[in-house]
Structure formats: C-alpha cells, structure tokens
C-alpha cells in the first residue's frame, strides 16, 4: 500500500508520478525502496488514467466515511 499512498501524494501535489519522485517520497518516510516495485508501478500507471480512476473510485468512497459527529 505504501507505494500507492506515495503515488496518491504525488498526484495530489500535482507532481509527476515517476520513479525518482516515488523513491524520494518513500525514502523520506524511511522506507527501503525496492527498485523493481517502483519501476513496475510506474510502468503500470503509464497505462492508467489516474484522474479517471480516482474519479471512479471517489464515486463510492463517500460511503466509507463515517458520518460527521
């Protein structure tokens, strides 16, 4: 999940989700970075429109949020 959170962080920050940036974020969190995983993730994300995926994903998550107190 860490790699996904790192990607989402970059996405939200408006930065490019590339190997270098993901590594920077993960390392800042003290995570030992697995090059292969980063490569594989970035390659996979190249084929995916994150904005669209998030939009679709966000259509739902409303549900998951506990109601405000």
């Amino acid at each position: 999940m860490e790699y996904i959170y790192a990607s989402l962080l970059l996405y939200k920050a408006g930065k490019e989700i590339n190997e270098e940036n993901i590594k920077k974020v993960l390392e800042a969190a003290g995570i030992q970075v697995d090059e292969v995983r980063v490569k594989s993730l970035v390659a996979a994300l190249k084929n995916i429109d994150i904005a669209k995926v998030l939009e679709q994903a966000l259509a739902a998550p409303v549900a998951a949020v506990p109601a405000a107190p």
């Binding site: 999940m1 860490e2 790699y3 996904i4 959170y5 989402l8 995983r37 993730l41 996979a44 994300l45 084929n47 995916i48 994150i50 995926v53 998030l54 679709q56 994903a57 966000l58 739902a60 998550p61 409303v62 998951a64 949020v65 506990p66 405000a68 107190p69």
Partner: protein, 297 residues
Amino acid sequence: MSATAVPRAKRIPQWKIEEVKYLTNLFKSYPVFVIADLTGFPTNQLQKLRKKLSKKVLFRVSKNKLILRALKNAGIDTSKFEEILTGQNLLMFTHMNAFELSLLLDKYKAKTYYKPGEIAQQEIVIPEGNTGLSPGPILSTFSKLKIPTRIQGNSIVITRDTVVAKPGDTISEELASLLQRLDIALKEVKINIKAAYDHGIIISGDQLVLDLEEYKNMVMNAHLDALKIGSEIAWPVPEILELSLNKAFRQALALAAEAGYITPDTAEYVFRTAVMKALALAAEISKYAPDLGLEVP
C-alpha cells in the same frame, strides 16, 4: 350383619364413574394431551377456541380427582401430575405433537377487555371516530382521560386518535369501563399450559414455548455455514461455485490492493481502497481537528 356396613357416603355417583370411564378412554386413545390452567380464562373465549380447533383437538373440563383416577386407570404414572392438578383445569387431547398444539394455541390467542388494575401489554389508542355512545355521564370519563370529543347529532365523536396508556401502565377503573363500552378488547389471553404428555414423555409448560424466529435463524445459519464450506471446497454445484468465484475474486482484489499491485484490471480497486482508507482516516481526524478543513465529502 346389616347392610349398613357400607357407608352411604362412600358410594360414587354414577356420573363420576361415567366421566372416569370417558376420560380413561381418551387417555388411552390419544397419544398426546395437555393440562391447561383455566383460571381467569373467559368462558366465551374457550367456546370460540373449542370451535376453531374442533377438528384437531378434543377439549374436556373435568374435576382433578376424576382426572387423576382416569390417568391411573389408563396406566399413566400420575406422580408428576398430582401437584399440577389444582384449580380448574382443561384437558386437550390431540394427535399432533405437544409443541405443535402449543404453537397452534399461540396462533389463536384470544383478546378480552382489560380489567381495572391490570397492566397494559401494549400502547392503548382510542381511535378517532363516532363512538355511537349518547352524551351523558360518560363524557366526564372522556375528559378525565383527556380524549377530545364533540357531539354530533346524538352521539359522541372522538376527534383524534388518543393514546391513553403506554405498555406497563396500570389500567384505571375509568379506562377499563371505557374500553368495554367502546368494545375495545386488547388484552391477549392465552391458555396457560401447565404440562403436556406426549407418547409417555412429560413436558412442562415453559418447555413448550418455542421461538420461531430462533428456529428461522438456526435454519438460515445452518445453510450459510453449508454455503461457506461448500464455497471453500468449490463444491461443484453452480449455486455454490458462484460463491466460490466471488470469494476468490474478492480475495485476489484485496491482496492486490494490499500489495499495491497495479494492472489495468486492479487499478481502480487498488486506488479506491487506498482512497477509502484515507477518507476514513480523514473523517476520524476531522473529529479531533476540524481546523484542518479536510476534504471529507
């Protein structure tokens, strides 16, 4: 020796002999009977019940001593019956099993009027509408119970539904008489079974109470458990295999999400899971730090 050796007082009246004979025969020919408490059970309700169940149940009200005598004659061990055969009792003979009879009696719970001093079993509502009662002293009862009324023609009309008692309230004398005058019979009366005899087994009245919802749940849970096991071993029945496929697919997606494994077919799910988790955390955080202004939808 004179005939006075046999005291007249000990002679048993013929009707008692007949009754014992009749009962003995019933005890011998029916595999199941129950002894129920008739105390406080309205006679007219008993008549109704008897009519409704006439095809399945034979009713008999008899004296305790005669019942005991007949039980003995029928060769039934009376030791368990002696102490419950007090008061006024009703015998019900049937070919159903004792639990079935008990459930059947539950279905035909009778309704009667509340008496003063009794506890309300439910919320009692006096419905709006024309009561058909003529104005008179009864009007003070209405006002005492805060039931709004008006006079229309020569009868009292209740202007809106009025709650006059909540469950657990004690029924007042006024209310009891009003309910009777308005013909509102709400109190459930159920024949209280003291004991049942079913093919030689004696079952106490409280043992006879069945919770059908509980049985429904048991059936449902048994079936669910079977489906769980069936789907885990992929029992080759389409109904179960669909559950297996469902399970495998969900497990695969969950694993993909946890591993952050992105492919075109997992991406949406993986991101959705991450976002949902983040949103759940955000919602929780905003309870403690509303100033963060988190974008919780």
